[in-house]
Symmetry: C2
Subunit: 345 residues, 2 copies
C-alpha cells in the first residue's frame, strides 16, 4: 500500500519536504491513557510485546491520538537476546533483567544465531500494524545496537557504568568480537524479517554508547552498526548512539541514512561533520514539563537550528513516562505548524 | 610546612614538571583493605565522614599505600546541603538520599547559607590530614558543583535522568537561580574554610553535568562554577564536568586552572580548545580490570596523548570499588616510571 504520508521516508533519503516530519521515541507508552488500558488488559509488559494483536494496537495509537508522522513497532530490544537463548524478564520497578548471563566462551558458543522466524510474533505485529495504519504513516522497525545487546547479555540488567560488560571487552577482546558477530548476524536477519513484514525504515538504538571510550566505541560498537547499515539496503537506516557525540565522524562515513542526536549534541557541529546525512532529534525531553510558551520557544529554536531540510524532528531521548499527554500533543502540533522563514539574499 | 612533593601544584599552575603527577578519584575507598578496616570500625559511612580522626586516617592511606602524588580529603559532597538544612543518609546498597527535598520557594527560603564553621568536622579533618601528611604530598579539598548539589536537593537521590531537577529548571528558572546562588555562596565559604585549614588545591565535582543541554549547562551550572573559580584565588582550582564535553570552550575562558576530562573526551580537542589550561584525566576506570600489559599500554598511550606538560594523570571517573588494589598500584607505578620521549626536530 502506498504511503499517504511519506515525509519521514523522504526526509531520511535527503529529499526536501513541505515541513519537518515528527515522531517521538517511546511515543507508544505510558503517557497515553489508551496505552495504559491495553497494557492493563495484557496483564504484563511481555504479554503485550508477545501478542501481535495488542502490540499492533498500541503501535498505531500515537499516529491516531498524537498525529505523529510515523509509528514505531511496539517491542523491546531484548527480544533478540531472548531469541538467541537468553530469556529476559521485566520487573516493573527495576527494569529488565536476565536470569542467565554470558560469562565465558562456553556461554557464547551456546547462543544460537537467531533467524527472523524465531521472532515471528514481532513480524506478525508489524504486518498487523501496517494493515491498521493503512498508509497513514510509515512504520519504523528497530533493534538494539550489538554493543547495547552485548552489554545486557553480560551485565544481566541495566547499569550506570556497565563496568562488567566493559571489563569483558578489556579482558576478553577476541571473545567479545565473537559474541558481537553473533549478535550482529542475528540482528541483520531480524531486521530483514521486519522489512519483509512491512517496516518502511529501521532504527538501531545504541542506548549504552555513552559508557565506551571513543576508541572502544569504534572497535566494539560502530563497526557492527556499520555492518548492519551495509546489510540493510532495502530501506533507510537511522542510527542513534546516545551519549557518544564523537561518533558522528564515523557515522558520517558509514552507509547509514540518518544520525540520531541527543540533546547534549550540537546541531552545527553535526551539520558540519555529517553534511550528507539526515539528522534526527534532539529536544531535551524535560522541555515537555514546561509551560506551553517555553515548549513552543524551545521547539522552534531547535527547528531553526536544524533548518528546513534533512531533519526528522524528535526528542533527544525517549519520552519520560510522567509527561502530560496534552504537552506532547502541543509539541507535535508546534512542529507541524512551524514554517521556516525563507531567507532572501 | 613546605611540600616535599609539589608536582601536582606545579602542574596545575602550568609549570613544567620532572614527571606527570598522578592521583585517582575515589582513591581513598573500598579498593583498600586498610580503608575497609577503618570503615568497619567507624560503623557507618557518615560516622567516618564526620569523625576527623578517622577521615584523616583514610585520607592519607593512598599516599602511603599507593604512592600517589596527592591526597584528597575524605568527605562527601552532600555535607554541604546538610549544612544548609537538608540532612542526608547513605543507604549502603542504594546510595545517598534526602528525607526532605526542595520543592518550592518556601523550601528555598528556609535553607541557610552555610558558613565554614558549619562544616568544622571537615576543616578539622583537613588540619589533621595535613599534619599526618607532613608535606609528603599536597592535599586536595573539594565540593560539589552547585548544579550537582541542586540536583540532589530537588531529586532527593541519585537518578539516571535527574528529570525532576531538570523539570524544576524549565518550570522555575528564577527560583532555580535563587537556589543556585545560595548553594554557590555556601560553597565559596566552605572552600575558603578548607583552604584556611590547609587544602593546597581545590576540585569542584560536577558529577551530573552530563544530563543538561549545553544551553542549560551554561546558564545553570557553568556560570556558578565560574563564580567559585573567581572567588578562589588562593590556590589552584580544578573543575570536572563529567559527561559535558562541550563545556571545555566555556571553561577555557574561565578563571579555573585545571579542566578534568572523562574517558569519552578527546585530548587533542581539549588541548586545542583550552591551550592555557592544565588537563586532568582521563583513563577509563575499566582499563584497571585488564591484565597488566593492557593497563601499561593504555596508560602510556594516554600519557603520550597528553604530552609531558600541563597534565595531571587520573582516571576519567572514580575508581570502581571492585578494582584490585595491585592493579591500581601498577597503574600508579606505570605513570611514575614513564618518561616522555624528547622529540628532536
Amino acid at each position: 500500500m502506498k504511503l499517504m504520508n511519506d515525509l519521514l521516508i523522504r526526509a531520511a533519503r535527503g529529499e526536501s519536504t513541505e515541513r519537518t516530519p515528527v515522531w517521538l521515541m517511546r511515543q507508544a507508552g505510558r503517557i497515553l491513557p489508551e496505552y495504559r488500558q491495553v497494557r492493563k488488559d495484557a496483564g504484563s509488559f511481555k504479554t503485550l510485546v508477545n501478542t501481535p494483536d495488542l502490540a499492533s494496537e498500541v503501535t498505531i495509537q500515537p499516529v491516531e491520538i498524537l498525529g505523529v508522522d510515523a509509528a514505531i513497532i511496539f517491542s523491546d530490544i531484548l527480544v533478540l537476546p531472548e531469541a538467541m537463548g537468553l530469556p529476559y524478564e521485566i520487573a516493573e520497578s527495576k527494569g529488565p533483567w536476565f536470569g542467565r548471563t554470558v560469562e565465558n566462551r562456553h556461554d557464547i558458543e551456546g547462543l544460537k544465531i537467531a533467524e527472523a522466524d524465531d521472532l515471528s510474533f514481532v513480524l506478525k505485529a508489524i504486518e498487523q500494524s501496517k494493515k491498521k495504519l493503512a498508509g497513514r504513516a510509515p512504520l519504523i522497525g528497530f533493534a538494539g545496537a550489538p554493543w547495547t545487546i552485548f552489554a545486557y547479555m553480560i551485565e544481566g540488567t541495566g547499569s550506570k557504568t556497565f563496568s562488567k560488560a566493559k571489563k569483558f571487552l578489556y579482558c576478553e577482546p577476541a571473545l567479545s568480537h565473537k559474541l558481537l558477530e553473533k549478535i550482529t548476524l542475528s540482528t541483520i536477519y531480524y531486521l530483514k524479517g521486519q522489512i519483509a513484514a512491512g517496516a518502511d525504515i529501521i532504527q538501531v538504538f545504541d542506548s549504552w554508547a555513552g559508557v565506551l571510550s571513543p576508541v572502544q566505541y569504534r572497535e566494539f560498537s560502530q563497526r557492527y552498526i556499520n555492518l548492519i547499515s551495509e546489510g540493510i539496503s532495502e530501506v533507510p537506516v537511522i542510527v542513534f548512539a546516545k551519549g557518544a557525540p564523537y561518533s558522528v565522524t564515523g557515522f558520517a562515513q558509514s552507509p547509514c541514512d540518518v544520525i540520531g542526536m541527543d540533546w547534549t549534541m550540537n546541531v552545527k557541529e553535526y551539520r558540519t561533520k555529517a553534511p550528507n546525512k539526515t539528522l534526527q532529534g534532539n529536544l531535551d525531553p524535560c522541555v515537555l514539563y514546561a509551560v506551553p510558551d517555553v515548549i513552543k520557544q524551545e521547539t522552534e529554536k531547535m527547528l531553526t537550528a536544524f533548518g528546513p531540510d534533512r531533519h526528522i524532528c524528535n526528542l533527544g531521548h525517549g519520552l519520560y513516562p510522567d509527561t502530560e499527554k496534552e504537552k506532547v500533543k502541543f509539541f507535535v502540533d508546534t512542529v507541524k505548524n512551524f514554517r521556516h522563514h525563507t531567507v532572501i539574499h
